[in-house]
C-alpha cells in the first residue's frame, strides 16, 4: 500500500548510464509489471527502489519519503531464490520474521512461517528441508512465502519465475495473484520485473515498458478490474491479443533500433580504422 514516485530518475554504473530519466507515479496497491529487453535497466530500477543502489533523494520517493537504504518494508524476491542454503527453508522464513517481529517467540514465528508456506502450496514436510533438497519451484515458493510473510506494503520481485518450467511458473503466477487479490483494500504495491509479455498481461494492473539503456519509459498501460486479462482469456480475447501484439512490437522495434545503432557504431569504428590504415600506408610510402 505504498505509492512510488519517480521524478526524472537517473542512474549510472561507473559513468555508464542505465536509467535516462524515468517519470512514473505508481499508485498504492497496484501490481506494476516492468517490461523490457535484457539490459534495459529493469532490475536496476528495482534495486534502486529496494535501496540496494543509491539514488538521488529527490528522484525516487516511496510513500513520500526518499529511499535511503534497504528496508523490511520493501522485501525483494530474486530470480535465483535468495534463500540461505545453510538454513532449512522454514528457518529462512523464521529469520525474516524474527527481524520484523522482534517480540514474537520461536513458536509463534514457526507457526506463522508454516502458515505462509502452506499458503504457497508447500507441505509441512518440506519446511525442515535444506534448499538443496528442494526443487527450483519449491525454493522459489519459499522465497515468495518469506516476502509475503513480512506483510510489507511494497513487494519487489525481480524476474522471480524466470528460471522455472512452464507449469511451475503458471502455478506460481496464479498463487501470487491470488494472495495479492485476497488482500482487497490493503493490497500491497507490487513491482514485478519480467521480460515476458504474457506474464505482464496476466499479472499486472499496470504495465510499464522500458526502452533500451539509458532507458526511458516508452509505453504504459493500465487495466481496470473489468479489463484485466485472465488466464482463460489470455489467448482468446481480441483486445488482449491486440495489446500483446502492440507490446511485442514496441519491444521488437527497440531491439531492431538497438541492432541498427550497434551496426552504425561498428561501421563508424571500421571507417576510423581504414582511415588510420591509409595514413599509415602514406607514411610508409613517404619513408621509402
Amino acid at each position: 500500500m505504498l505509492e512510488v514516485s519517480m521524478n526524472n530518475l537517473q542512474f549510472a554504473y561507473d559513468k555508464e548510464p542505465v536509467l535516462g530519466g524515468l517519470d512514473y507515479q505508481a499508485k498504492a496497491g497496484k501490481f506494476v509489471c516492468f517490461l523490457g529487453q535484457s539490459g534495459c535497466g529493469k532490475s536496476t530500477l528495482l534495486r534502486l527502489v529496494a535501496g540496494l543502489e543509491k539514488s538521488n533523494s529527490e528522484q525516487l520517493l516511496v510513500g513520500g519519503k526518499p529511499v535511503t537504504g534497504p528496508s523490511l518494508d520493501r522485501p525483494m524476491v530474486f530470480q535465483d531464490y535468495g534463500l540461505f542454503p545453510w538454513m532449512t527453508a522454514g528457518e529462512n522464513i523464521c529469520l525474516a520474521l524474527k527481524q520484523k517481529y522482534k517480540d514474537w517467540d520461536k513458536h509463534k514465528r514457526r507457526e506463522v512461517a508454516l502458515e505462509w508456506a502452506k499458503n504457497l502450496g508447500l507441505d509441512e514436510d518440506l519446511f525442515d528441508k535444506l534448499p538443496m533438497n528442494l526443487s527450483g519451484g519449491q525454493r522459489q515458493r519459499f522465497a515468495v512465502a518469506r516476502a509475503f510473510a513480512l506483510d510489507a506494503p511494497l513487494l519487489l520481485m525481480d524476474e522471480p519465475f524466470g528460471a522455472l518450467d512452464a507449469v511451475t511458473k503458471a502455478l506460481l503466477q496464479d498463487t501470487v495473484l491470488d494472495l495479492w487479490q485476497k488482500e482487497k483494500e490493503n493490497r500491497k504495491t507490487i513491482f514485478f520485473v519480467t521480460h515476458s509479455v504474457d506474464e505482464a498481461l496476466l499479472l499486472a494492473t499496470d504495465i510499464v515498458v522500458l526502452g533500451q539503456a539509458p532507458s526511458k519509459i516508452i509505453y504504459t498501460h493500465s487495466f481496470t478490474d473489468e479489463t484485466k486479462p485472465k488466464r482463460e482469456t489470455l489467448y482468446t480475447d481480441p483486445e488482449v491479443l491486440n495489446l500483446r501484439n502492440l507490446l511485442t512490437k514496441i519491444i521488437n522495434d527497440e531491439i531492431v533500433e538497438k541492432a541498427r545503432r550497434m551496426k552504425e557504431g561498428k561501421a563508424h569504428a571500421n571507417g576510423g580504422i581504414s582511415k588510420a590504415k591509409k595514413s599509415l600506408f602514406f607514411l610508409r610510402k613517404r619513408a621509402i
Binding site: P70, L72, D80, G82, F84, W86, A96, M132
Partner: protein
C-alpha cells in the same frame, strides 16, 4: 561391520600395502639401512616399555597444539573477516600481510624465545603464527568472495551487524575457511616439532628429537608412528566437525 569395511576398507588396504612394502624393503630384501630403518616388528616390541612416555609427551604436545590452534582460529577468523569486509582496510594491510606471512616461521624462533617469558609461551606463539597466516589468508578470501545475493538478502531483512556476521557472513564463508583450518592443523603439527626443539622436557616431537640424538632410530620410528596415528585421529575428528558444519553444501 559391513558398513565399516565399506567406509574404511580401501584406507586399511592402502595402509597394509605400505606396511608390506616397508617389510619387503627392510626385513625381506634388506634394501634400506637397518640402522635408520629398523624392522617394524622390533619397533612394535618397544611399545609396552615406552607407551607411558609417549602418552606423557602426547599430553604435553596437545596442550601446546590445542592452545595455539584455538587461538589462531579465533584471532585469524576475527581479523580475516574484518579485513575481508572492509575494502579500504584490506588495500592498506595486504602488502604487510604478504610480507610478514612470507617469513618462514621456524626462522623466528630466536625472536620468540627473546620476546616471550617462558619457552612454553614461545612455543605456543610459533605454532599460533604458522596456523594464523593460513587461516587469515583463507578467511579474507572467503569473506571477499561471499555471494552478493546473500548480503543483499540480509540487507533487505535489515539484519543487525552481529547477527549478520554469525548467521550470514561466517556460514557463507565457512567452506573456504574450513579448508584453511584443515591446512593450518597439519602445519601446526609440523611447527610442533620446531617448537619442542627448545625448552621442552616432553612431547611427541621432543621424543623423536631426544632419541634421534642417541641414534635410537627404532624409538625414532616409534615416535613417528605414534605422531602419525595422533594426527590421523585428530584429522578424523576435524573432518567430522567439518562435515557437520558444511552439511548444507553439495559435496557433503
Amino acid at each position: 561391520m559391513g558398513q565399516f569395511i565399506k567406509n574404511y576398507g580401501s584406507i586399511i588396504l592402502i595402509g597394509i600395502c605400505i606396511l608390506i612394502a616397508y617389510i619387503l624393503l627392510t626385513d625381506v630384501f634388506g634394501i634400506l639401512s637397518s640402522f635408520l630403518f629398523p624392522s617394524i616388528f622390533d619397533v612394535i616390541k618397544l611399545v609396552p616399555d615406552y607407551i607411558s612416555e609417549l602418552f606423557t609427551g602426547l599430553k604435553s604436545s596437545l596442550y601446546l597444539l590445542v592452545t595455539a590452534y584455538v587461538l589462531a582460529v579465533i584471532s585469524a577468523i576475527a581479523i580475516g573477516t574484518l579485513i575481508g569486509l572492509k575494502s579500504g582496510l584490506r588495500k592498506n594491510v595486504t602488502p604487510y600481510i604478504n610480507a610478514f606471512s612470507a617469513i618462514p616461521v621456524p626462522l623466528l624462533t630466536p625472536y620468540a624465545i627473546n620476546l616471550f617469558p617462558t619457552f612454553k609461551a614461545a612455543s605456543i606463539f610459533l605454532i599460533w603464527l604458522a596456523a594464523f597466516w593460513v587461516i587469515l589468508g583463507t578467511t579474507i578470501g572467503a569473506v571477499m568472495s561471499i555471494d552478493k545475493r546473500y548480503l543483499e538478502t540480509a540487507a533487505t531483512l535489515e539484519m543487525p551487524g552481529i547477527e549478520k556476521l554469525f548467521k550470514i557472513i561466517l556460514p557463507a564463508a565457512s567452506p573456504a575457511i574450513l579448508v584453511g583450518c584443515s591446512i593450518a592443523l597439519t602445519l601446526s603439527f609440523m611447527m610442533l616439532a620446531v617448537a619442542e626443539m627448545f625448552g621442552a622436557t616432553s612431547g611427541m616431537a621432543y621424543f623423536v628429537q631426544y632419541y634421534s640424538d642417541f641414534a635410537r632410530f627404532d624409538l625414532v620410528m616409534l615416535g613417528f608412528l605414534f605422531t602419525a596415528a595422533v594426527l590421523v585421529f585428530i584429522m578424523y575428528i576435524f573432518d567430522k566437525i567439518k562435515h557437520r558444519v558444511l552439511h548444507w553444501t553439495i559435496n557433503n
